[in-house]
Amino acid sequence: MNTERRRCLDRAVADAAAAFAFVDAQPAADTQPVDPATWVKIAVFAPTPGTLVLGMSADAVEEMTRTAWGAFATGSDEQRNGFLFELMNVIAGRFLAELDPQASVELGFPEVVTEAPPLVAQYDLEGRRMAVGWLDAA
């Protein structure tokens, strides 16, 4: 991931994490291992075709989902996946708007994936881990 994309991604992740779960997301060393329990992805059709992927450790998903849902949190898989989908959607929108504020953005819909992507940027969520990656369209 080039420097400009990484800068835009950092800002999008920080905005989304703060808004949904009041968590400070800081870029972490990419060499540290991450073992997310769940990966989700979203297809980007425009302005730059590719796929954005997001992974979070189980404890990070659990805590952020509970914070986001507040008094209505049930701890269900449906809420956890729904939280990840909405987070993915917002990060994708913000990331692409940062890259080119004037470009029209066209996204697919978030979905769960089973395999971790090869290249990811990592973030520290006040002690928990999140990873986000951009894959150019083949």
């Binding site: 949904f20 909405e86 917002v90 929108g93 004037q102 470009a103 029209s104 819909f109």
Partner: protein
Amino acid sequence: MKKVMIVDDSPLARQLVRAAVSSMIGVGGAEFLEAEDGSVALRQLTVKKVDLIVCDLNMPVLDGHALLARVRGLSLHKTTPFIVLSSLVNDAKVVQLKAAGANAVLKKPFSTQQLKDSLRAVGL
């Protein structure tokens, strides 16, 4: 009691809107109707008058922009306040949505205060 239609494929986003609206007009002061995409919302809006529509943009089946156009074609909802929420809007998209009849366009993630300001602006 105000009737509020929330249209979003994300249950979390619908909950955040419910909470923001309730905090402004009081719990019990609003009746919420919900739909996970534009087509489900349109079926309800064709026969039911509401006081406010809060709608996501990127949804399956019928997206927010298409729903807005269809809703403005219904005699029941020619002037119903319609607020669009999306992470995908840029200045050009805001102009398009307002030209199509949106009263306000908010970028996700939105703050409760931003939504409250929009609700006040549309007279709720």
